[in-house]
Symmetry: C2
């Protein structure tokens, strides 16, 4: 709790003067004003987040947190629960979607066992930070205790602190069979919206399974009565270890002024918990991709963020974040590397 509180205290709103300063430089570059659209926004925000007037991207790290979910017993997912641990091995062997897209973006993938219901023993490359061996079934009671949720968040904060070097940018990712269910439950709890309006089809379920999923979420909220004004209460009762880890990573990134690119629906559930704890966290987040999950747009609206990768991805793992990191870096490079009108001898706009 001490690490969480001190991290939250460190987080300050970004300096909007830096946004203006960065825009002034962007307007000197050899292009019509604003013609690089959101790439300019990324550059501007990157400057304001880091406080560096000529920021670099030196180290790109995607944290993929893995955890299991007791609610998988309710048949809410299209895949069996053991896929969580199988996919962890796949991550470590470099064969998953996130490995391919991270390599393509020049990013490293840090795989964290924060809550898998399996003993990996000693396996090369896995960060062993297990807090729980899977959550409990949220249809029947709380996913975890308040203390466990905080411990998971502090794993995330600790990792953010460890990797926070000058020029760092983080991405978030996750693996956890059934974890769209807790994510929908979390946004339902915060927004007060009916489960149906924030529930999607996860990795691909049919109508019958979907209806069951909605009922499970309704029951989880009825049984647990989460307090929407207490984000840790919502997180511990409905969440998952990996969602809590992501919440912590985002908080740690904001505390260290490291830009953090948040993946899709489940990652955004974690980022949302962080923002509910401290609104200013949102200043440090780039929301990467538009998830097809219905609850995602509700989360983003609540956080005041607008995502920018629209490729119909619904894999998770951090795949959208990998593409997002590439695009944010494109904005920073534009800012750093383009010639100015003066340097290039190019005439400016007619008066």
């Amino acid at each position: 709790m001490r690490l969480l509180n001190s991290a939250l205290e460190k987080i300050v709103p970004i300096d909007t003067n830096l946004l203006d300063k960065a825009q002034a430089r962007l307007d000197m570059l050899t292009k019509p004003k604003d013609s690089l659209g959101r790439l300019e926004e990324f550059a501007r925000r990157f400057v304001a987040i880091t406080g560096e007037t000529m920021p670099l991207v030196n180290r790109k790290v995607i944290f993929t947190f893995a955890g299991d979910h007791g609610v998988a017993d309710e048949g809410v997912s299209a895949f069996p629960k053991e896929v969580t641990r199988q996919m962890v091995y796949n991550f470590l062997n470099g064969g998953a979607g996130i490995n391919v897209l991270a390599r393509h973006a020049g990013a490293e993938v840090v795989v964290v066992d924060i809550g898998v219901d399996f003993d990996f023993g000693d396996v090369q490359g896995l960060l062993k930070r297990k807090v729980i061996s899977g959550t409990k079934n949220i249809r029947l009671g709380p996913a975890m205790t308040r203390e466990q949720a905080i411990a998971c968040m502090e794993v995330g904060i600790d990792l953010a602190y460890q990797y926070a070097v000058k020029g760092a940018v983080f991405g978030t990712g996750e693996m956890g069979i059934a974890n769209t269910t807790p994510s929908s439950a979390i946004i339902a709890a915060f927004s007060g919206l009916p489960a149906e309006e924030v529930t999607g089809r996860g990795t691909g379920i049919d109508d019958k399974v979907f209806e069951n999923k909605v009922r499970v979420i309704e029951d989880a909220i009825k049984v647990n009565r989460p307090d929407p004004s207490d984000a840790i209460d919502v997180l511990s009762k409905l969440g998952g270890a990996e969602i809590a880890g992501i919440a912590g990573l985002v908080i740690g990134a904001a505390a260290k002024r490291v830009p953090v690119v948040v993946d899709g629906f489940i990652s955004t559930a974690g980022a949302l918990v962080a923002c509910e704890l401290k609104r200013e966290v949102r200043d440090y987040i780039f929301s990467a991709h538009n998830s097809v999950e219905k609850g995602h747009a509700v989360m983003l609206k609540r956080m005041g963020l607008k995502s920018f990768v629209d490729l119909n991805l619904r894999l998770g793992e951090g795949t959208g974040a990998a593409i997002g990191i590439y695009l944010v870096e494109a904005g920073v490079k534009i800012y750093n590397e383009m010639a100015t009108f003066g340097d290039a001898g190019v005439s400016e706009k007619n008066a």
Copy 2:
């Protein structure tokens, strides 16, 4: 004309069996079916276009064609005409937006003087393939002769043939002050829509200049009476040298089965001319970014393409194509590098 005709004859529809074959492989990879959305589409199409069952991306080339426009005299642009040649120097010095984004995507930029109203003399790095020294003012008469339009297209075809190696992927780009005006005129001519409905604000013009631009396009169509069933007539009367070069490049790419990533509004005008000459050309095109120019969506609908970069870019040069190439390559890498369920020992979906 001989080169153009023989290229058009070579173009065949892609083999849809290869699309299915590629999808069968994608479905074996360790991810829920279709969960990588459009990246899977890119991989599928890349396989069908190239005919390679395990395609590689070895050489990424963005062709930035530069040309001037007589219609700039009508005050349709926010920038003075000399910016075309100034930007060519900027491209050669590596300081423009396209240089930064091409480097970021690992692509080379080939700068082609196909129609600039300026004698560059001997300057390192510039491909000197000038056909005309700028078009004539389309408000008063045809932009160029039919022979000139064909010569420009054949420059594009010739370049495509020269660069078409195994593993190649092309991008299109352009520079030409005032060239949104001919682009809007081209789609107005093909679609029969009023100029107003396909005209945008280019690099940033105010209401008064916009109204003038619409009138100029209306006049250009009235004066020239382009025949919408004769694409070369439309191109020569309303187009530009760089637009014709792009049309040729796209045709040459399709003839050589090289995937071609088409940039925004002006590039799409070129690609549209190519598709009007031979419908099958569309099979070989990836439309990169959604332009804010109104006529762009009309063009894409006509070609049956759906773009995928939505960053509010409106710079041209090939900047959207550079990002598009990165994303298409991401799809190819997913296809080539991800582990299968069998290899990774990951359980498949529940029955």
